[in-house]
Amino acid sequence: MRRSKVCFVGYGSTEYSRNSEASALSYYADAIRDALKRTGIDKKEIRGFSITTQASPDYSPHVAEQLGLEVDWVLNGDYGGAGGVMSVRRAADAIECGHLDLALLVGGNSFDRSTPTQRQLEYQRGNFVDVFGYGGPNSLMALIQRLHMNNYGTTLEQIGKIAIAQRFNALNNPQALFRQAMSMQDYLNSRMISDPIRLFDCVMPCSGAECILLASEQKAKQITDKLVYLVTDAEISHYQVANMLPDKTTFGQKVVGERIFSEIKREDIDLFEIYDDYPIAVMIQIEDLGYCQKGEGGKFVDHHDLTYNGDFPVNTGGGELSVGQAGLAGGYLHLVEALRQLRCEAEGHQVKKADRALVTGIGWLNYGRNLGTTAALVMERRK
């Protein structure tokens, strides 16, 4: 839907770590401190709170209490990798309705083993997938990638080009866990995990947190002179659910893209923060969003430069593939990077013309189809 009165006013991030056992709560707190420091906002001004995580067992009001937040609006943004974008949509609704003027949206993860957080697999995953010895999300995305390669002739080199471009983007991003260049040979030779998914198709699980501050236009003008507006946004959950022979290589982003681009032109987007749990997922979303025909994603990648100084900048800070996936902070990383770019604060990987960014989220690999939740939004810098 079209928006006109909601702004992104700030962001906060933590360092990412592969071995820290600090609590998830302390990661959220660090990200929030970073955001408050950057914006000069007093914590008491925050009137809305959303948390997206699998790492802390408490419900969202308990997390808000832990963090000392007295709020008028609280949300458990449990939409998997779409949690960031979908939480922004709900917060924007609440702001437009006048329930609040400043919301804090947090995603995070940690490997703190002193807090019991291991969730049971959901019903269909537990009873009808895990019993056969599957390899987690890597196997479910492998099924999709094999179909894409089989049906459309997509090559490993085309898929690998996405991972390699994103690694290039990460080289100057201090947050990225992987900051050494990746060659095509590195990609092709990486260890097989669940054919045809290789190690360098996979994200590195890590501890970390990201947060976003969303405000009414009026409040935003008090906070910052870099006004970044939410322009349009859309989502769909369980695309093709009633189709027992669904197209596994088309995500709900097809519908999301139609809605988004009924409001804004595709060519008006300057940079693309596309949820990247796997390179093939980026390629499929480029197709679904209408930047090329279904099945032409490989050729599209061949003909475009996806680096931050290229003609189609994708995941300009390295994305989850090179920065790391701090659990469900993954869906916030793309929002934070887009905002960093539009505020011209992406030192070392700044896109030259960064007025409009598209941010996507996808989550919950589901039974027999592909993604359960899919969402996207466009943000725009205005003088």
Partner: protein
């Protein structure tokens, strides 16, 4: 309590919704749900038709179909499966027109190609009451 245990291979936590399915599998039958109103066949077991929300019957599948897509699992989520890797995890399009996720077993599984015909077989587990509907190349 708290003694070290070797991990066990995953088994379904059978519930009210899918009890019939697992009873069928234990008897060597692959059961699907069919809508009493619109006739749509569906899988996995649910409480209503995913299309028209009608009530459901159970039907027996012929157990035959073709390989829709597959992956060779080198790193199973549950480490108890490690000794059986690579595991041939597959999506099968059953002749009844539904996708079922499963595992390809049998000596010729390494010859599998997209579109190959397969037939259901029922794999015994460490629980004598539970059998898993898997597939072999036909």
């Amino acid at each position: 309590m708290a003694e070290a245990r070797t991990p066990q291979k995953s088994l379904p936590k059978i519930n009210k919704v899918d009890q019939r399915f697992w009873d069928g599998a234990a008897a060597g039958k692959l059961l699907l749900q069919k809508c009493k109103s619109c006739g749509k066949v569906q899988f996995f077991p649910r409480v209503a038709c995913v299309d028209c929300f009608g009530e459901l019957d159970w039907i027996e599948s012929k157990g035959s179909g073709k390989v829709h897509t597959f992956t060779l699992v080198r790193v199973p989520r549950n480490p108890a499966f490690k000794e059986e890797t690579p595991i041939y995890y597959i999506n099968v399009i059953l002749d009844e027109g539904v996708i079922i996720e499963s595992r390809l077993v049998g000596d010729s599984r390494d010859k599998v190609k997209m579109g190959d015909r397969v037939k259901a077989v029922f794999l015994e587990t460490h629980d004598p009451k539970i059998k898993l509907p898997c597939f072999e190349l036909a």
